[in-house]
């Protein structure tokens, strides 16, 4: 007896995950930006000390990190889509994709350094 193939023939649904991630990160980023604008309007920071104090509040630091990580993930999905659409030779596309991933990881470390360094 032949076993039925234990797989979904319509694809691995990698695209669906990316599509969903891009939208969830987009909504989270909008929420963060909205909160930050409210905070800045309420506290009206003007000097270096006031900005420093604002970004020293722990939950703002954590929310900012979540925002930036979401931004990186969002950017990766978008840039990957763009590269898949326009860059067809596999060697060039893969090189560019690796460069983007390395850049995004570097940005993330830079961000951590600014916030916690």
């Amino acid at each position: 007896m032949v076993k039925p193939a234990n797989r979904i023939i319509t694809g691995a649904h990698y695209g669906l995950k990316d599509w969903l991630v891009q939208r969830i990160t987009a909504v989270l980023m909008v929420v963060y930006i909205g909160l930050l604008i409210v905070f800045i309007v309420v506290y009206q920071p003007e000097s270096y000390e006031e900005f420093k104090a604002l970004f020293s509040i722990r939950w703002i630091k954590i929310a900012s990190l979540l925002f930036f990580a979401g931004l990186c993930w969002h950017a990766w999905v978008g840039v990957r889509n763009v590269l898949m659409d326009y860059i067809h030779p596999m060697s060039i596309r893969l090189t560019l994709q690796i460069m983007c991933i390395v850049a995004l990881l570097g940005y993330l470390i830079w961000f951590l350094d600014i916030m916690w360094g």
Partner: protein
């Protein structure tokens, strides 16, 4: 067998410089271009600005004087427009995903709104900057 067309010459290929894009297509390609530009040079410039803002009172002062330069303001305004267009076109995308505004006339109206809101808020930001 090829179909015989009357005297009217039909284009043999899509020349992006010759065809007139419908409004939703303009919004869509601007969404993509603004996204790429926000990724680069957007993110590194944003991080550089954040670093200047938070590192020390001296870097904070240099950020302030740098942003006071008219060219810098113009650049910031352009970046604001890219960001706002990307934001509004993205919201439109989410609405389309939820099956709002799928009819042609609604899609045209919403793309018009995206362009108008992006430009209007950018101008407001410009007024605030100067």
């Amino acid at each position: 067998m090829e179909a015989q067309y009357p005297a009217r010459r039909r284009p043999k290929y899509l020349n992006l410089l010759k065809i007139r894009e419908p409004l939703p297509a303009v919004v869509s390609i601007l969404h993509r271009i603004s996204g790429v530009l926000l990724f680069f040079p957007g993110i590194p410039l944003f991080l550089y600005g954040l670093q200047l803002l938070l590192q020390s009172p001296e870097t904070f002062a240099s950020l302030q004087s740098g942003l006071a330069h008219p060219l810098c303001k113009l650049f910031l305004l352009l970046a604001t427009w890219f960001f706002l267009h990307h934001l509004f076109a993205g919201i439109r995308h989410l609405m389309l995903d939820l099956h709002y505004g799928l009819q042609l006339e609604h899609a045209r109206l919403s793309s018009k709104l995206v362009l108008i809101f992006g430009a209007a808020l950018t101008m407001l930001a410009g007024v605030w900057l100067w």
